[in-house]
């Protein structure tokens, strides 16, 4: 148990020493991740392992202690994030040959905090790891480049704000329940809830605030698009797949059990107000994330908003307060990890070869990077939640749960978001990989082997989870049982829904799809043979495009892809601009800063202010 915490630290130190030597850094990074994964593998089922460090430091009359325990739900998250991390670190081997900067030591620290967050058994440890993750990711995002500074600052502010709110929340929780242990405080909170209603709700809300910030839920949905657009691509892959789940895990671990055990009045006989609060935020994130993703021109921003939408789905699953929805949400967390990692790896590969992240400047890369294309294709099929791949099962479970709880608005929002997902996913596919290959990309090649292998692994992973959901569902249900939920251990192939007669067998779905494919392929083979023509040979109303100055670059339809749709939504989006709101706060602080500096720059007035201070003291302390 302790090794997996020591190893990242030691590795981070070594990486920092060898930082200039790329031949050492990334293999070391890889080996360390491999070790962590193997170690985590052996920890499965050994839920009783625990390590406590006692201190003399007193807070609220009790001595603090830091406990790391192998808790099942944490293991579930930690294990899958370790798998993803390992895959990404293989990718980094090849990816970082060109880059000047080196994010590895900081990244290793983040991996340390990653494990810490998932294995923390008390809030203080959790908070410490949480903060560690916050500032390290600032450095990882900027990675020594000035162009990333503003975005990273935005992230830093949000993450520090979240941590601050969490600190107050934890303190409230500790004072209310008398314990900083996560499980104990959950039980305690349920007991004191009715007597200390306002404080308990405040504690829950403060914690949720922090979690929502980290998972980019509605009012804080802006940071992924900013950060992903500028961060180093391989690290961004980690961030978008693993780090965005940090808000999800504690909600599953703490908020859901607590709210689930409370007996709150129900609105319209369906759910209580906390459920509706969480659900509405989730629904807004899902819908808004989708709409904004549709309008992006930068591919990393597009998938950033897609992440926001996916976080919305997960939150909707939690809001249903139904065991199927809960399982679905947790399942979706891992699914999203896998598919987002796959997608961002391909994006990183594209950027590695072309150096371009604006979609309308790309196109036709399928001619040069077929395997990357295939990974991306499977990734977007998974992200769209289409059956034989992995995004489907979890989305299906969440929708089932929402329908069984009669949460109609949420179900409609979910459908809106996942249909809208086709729009932006297809846009990315068409603009990056399909269409005409511009001349300047004529001689690029497929990425090297070290980058191909991870992509192929991700492809297999997506297909595997999609066809045999038990790969994830079995550990998940085992973990949930170990935590104390009354769930059946899932079978390898099928998923159980919340409604009547709604068990689906995903393997069967895959087989049926194969059947359809065979029929279709037969029709295809029956047809006469076809001839391949170059990409320039296209129907253009009989014109020669080159005569009109139209080259392959311009012959793509990819800039204002959904212009009519955008025109429908533009008036709405212009009015509500959270981004502008945050920016104005920032500006106001800067004005205030200038004023304060001016105050201190003045030659006179020192004694005046001194006298005012004394006057205030006399007024406040003596006269009143």
């Amino acid at each position: 148990m302790v090794e997996i915490f020591i190893i990242p630290l030691v590795t981070a130190f070594l990486l920092a020493i060898f930082i200039r030597n790329k031949k050492v850094v990334w293999p070391l990074f890889l080996i360390s991740n491999l070790y962590i994964l193997l170690k985590l593998w052996t920890l499965f089922g050994k839920w009783e392992i625990e390590k406590t460090i006692y201190t003399n430091y007193e807070l609220f009359g009790a001595k603090l202690s830091f406990t790391l325990s192998n808790n099942p739900l944490g293991w579930y998250f930690a294990f899958f994030s370790a798998v993803i991390t390992l895959v990404i670190s293989v990718f980094s081997l090849g990816f970082n040959q060109k880059t000047k900067e080196n994010v590895a030591p900081i990244w290793m620290l983040i991996i340390f905090s990653n494990l810490g967050i998932f294995f923390a058994a008390d809030w203080i440890t959790f908070f410490m790891m949480w903060e560690l993750m916050g500032w390290t990711s600032f450095f990882a995002i900027t990675n020594g480049r000035d162009k990333a500074l503003n975005e990273a600052k935005y992230y830093l502010v949000l993450s520090l704000l979240g941590a601050s709110s969490m600190l107050i929340g934890i303190i409230l929780l500790g004072a209310l329940t008398g314990s900083f242990e996560i499980f104990a405080s959950a039980y305690g909170l349920v007991q004191v809830f009715y007597s200390e209603k306002a404080l308990s709700i405040a504690a829950i809300m403060l914690l949720l605030f922090a979690f929502f910030i980290k998972s980019a839920i509605f009012p804080f949905y802006m940071w992924p698009s900013k950060v992903y657009a500028v961060g180093p691509e391989d690290y961004i892959t980690f961030m978008s797949s693993v780090m965005i789940k940090y808000g999800i895990y504690p909600i599953a671990m703490f908020i859901v059990p607590v709210v689930g055990s409370l007996d709150l009045p129900k609105i319209l006989n369906t759910a209580n107000w906390i459920q509706y609060f969480v659900g509405y935020l989730g629904a807004i994130s899902a819908v808004l994330g989708t709409i904004l993703a549709i309008f992006q021109t930068d591919m990393k921003k597009l998938f950033a908003y897609s992440s926001v939408a996916n976080m919305g789905y997960i939150l909707l699953g939690f809001a249903s307060m139904n065991i199927v929805g809960f399982e679905g949400a947790l399942f979706h967390a891992v699914n999203h990890m896998v598919l987002k990692a796959a997608i961002f790896l391909t994006l990183a590969a594209v950027i590695f070869r072309t150096g371009e992240s604006e979609m309308h400047k790309l196109g036709g890369l399928v001619y040069r990077m077929p395997i990357t294309f295939l990974t991306f294709l499977l990734g977007i099929i998974a992200a769209a939640g289409i059956p034989p791949l992995n995004g489907f099962g979890s989305k299906w479970m969440i929708i089932q749960a929402l329908m069984s709880q009669k949460m109609i608005i949420f179900a409609i929002a979910m459908i809106f978001a996942s249909t809208g997902a086709f729009m932006y996913l297809f846009r990315a596919l068409a603009s990056i990989f399909l269409g005409q290959l511009p001349d300047r990309f004529k001689d690029i090649k497929e990425v090297p082997l070290t980058m191909l292998i991870p992509m192929i692994i991700m492809m297999i992973g997506m297909l595997l989870i999609g066809v045999v959901p038990g790969v994830v569902m079995k550990p998940l249900t085992t973990a949930l049982r170990a935590v104390g939920y009354n769930v059946n251990i899932a079978s390898w192939t099928s998923l159980e829904g919340a409604l009547k007669n709604s068990t689906i067998d995903l393997t069967l779905v895959f087989l049926i799809f194969l059947g359809g494919f065979v029929i279709s392929a037969i029709m295809y083979i029956l047809g006469n043979k076809s001839e391949t023509v170059p990409q320039e040979d296209n129907y253009t109303g009989g014109e020669y495009p080159e005569e009109w100055g139209v080259n392959a670059d311009r012959f793509n339809y990819s800039y204002s892809f959904y212009q009519p749709f955008k025109e429908m939504f533009e008036p709405l989006l212009e009015k509500i601009s959270i981004d502008e709101f945050f920016a104005s706060i920032g500006r106001n602080f800067e004005y205030m800063s200038a004023t304060v500096q001016g105050l201190f720059r003045r030659g006179e007035g020192a004694v005046l202010l001194f006298s005012i201070g004394v006057l205030l003291l006399i007024l406040g302390g003596w006269i009143i």
């Binding site: 003399n56 410490m128 560690l132 003291l617 406040g620």
Partner: protein, 486 residues
Amino acid sequence: MNSIVFLIVIPLIAAFLSLFLGKNDKILAYIVTLFNIIFSILILFSGKIPFNVAIGGWRAPYGINYAVTDLTIFFLVLVNVAALLALTSVREIMEYQFYSFYFVLLSSTNGIVLTGDLFNFFLFIELSTFAVAGLISYKRDRLSTGAALKYLILSSTASIFSLAAIGLIYKTLGTLNFADIANKVNNLNEASLSLILILYISSLLVELKIFPFNMWVVKAYEASKTSVNLFIHGMLGTAGIYGVLRILLMVFSKETGKLTLSGNLSSILMLFAFVTVIIGEIGALTEKNMKKILAFSSMAQLGIVLFGISLGSFDALKGVLYIVISNYLAKFVMFLTVNEFSKVSGSTNYLDMKGLGRRYPVLAISFTISALSLMGIPFFAGFWGKISIIGNAVFSGKLELIGAVLILIASVIEGVYYLRISHTFFSQGHEREGRISRVYCLLPMILALVILFIGINPDSFENIISILLDEIKSPEKYIKLILSLK
């Protein structure tokens, strides 16, 4: 243990000597400072603590006395070590004025910590004001003269107020001895006590850089040399904190171990405290000059300290001590780093220091560690202070809660500007001619490691702090010691 007076006397003698020694002043400074450190450490391990020294055989409360307790010796070591650390940043040859003022400052700060008499305390503060003003104006350029004059006028005004307070105390209680005042303070009526405290605190707050009293800070920091900044921060600031702790918590406290100021005084102080925090952090937000940034930041840190003190609970006080030590160490690291970097880059603008962190990662990492500690990030010393103060503030009342929230917001702002600077250090920069010797990287590194060590293992520091807290909790021991009561 009458030799405790050497701590004050020897620097004073050295101040005279330095007028004649010329270039050997530096050696003298090191010798005297080392003497002070060794002497105070010897006292620390002599096992005789606590003890009381009556000067000239006049027993307290009739004569002046120097008392050495756990709290005293802790701050004594801090002040003297600060002197040594600050001296290491003096590279060029200084004229005798510098060293002369330095010795006066050393002597007076030692005196502030040691003395057990209110008037004596005032005297040493006045002396240190001289010394600091002299040190600030040492450069003799436009900026430093203006800054020194500003500081001098402000502190003279403040000293007049404190003198009035001393008069009032003597008038009402008939004594100026700390222990005796503490003994008799219950005889005072609320109104007089409030007035006295108001007048006295307002002069102390000038040294503590609390908002409406701190107009001198930024200019003074900007105008003076790094070593002088460190003197102000490490010696004067630390001694000031000691004064506040001693006078507010042990001398003028009606109940033991509580900051039971009359009326709304503690609320007003708290208001001042968090206004200072906000002002300090906001002022630093868009500043480019590193020295000004550090000045604003130390203002804010002392605001947090005062906030913790005015909360009036021992848990918060523990947090205060953590903050004090974290700020003490971190500012040293930062000033030393900035000193080295500005020598290479030729400017104190942090944007000019681009890329230096890549060439001198040790310095830049040390800087980052200190910044994180100031922000109150876990794994660094400041966190233990922050969590304690915030934790106690949340439940104390509405004003305290607002203060806690404001302090958290301020720490976010602090994070923004400090990590931006760290980032600038690590970003791609251009080649420079100057070089920094590895030796100079060593000290910041060691101090940063200490911060890290305390942050990871608060136990190491917790024991010291619990001893200090024990003393603050029971001022009657102090009274007994000095008045030799049974």
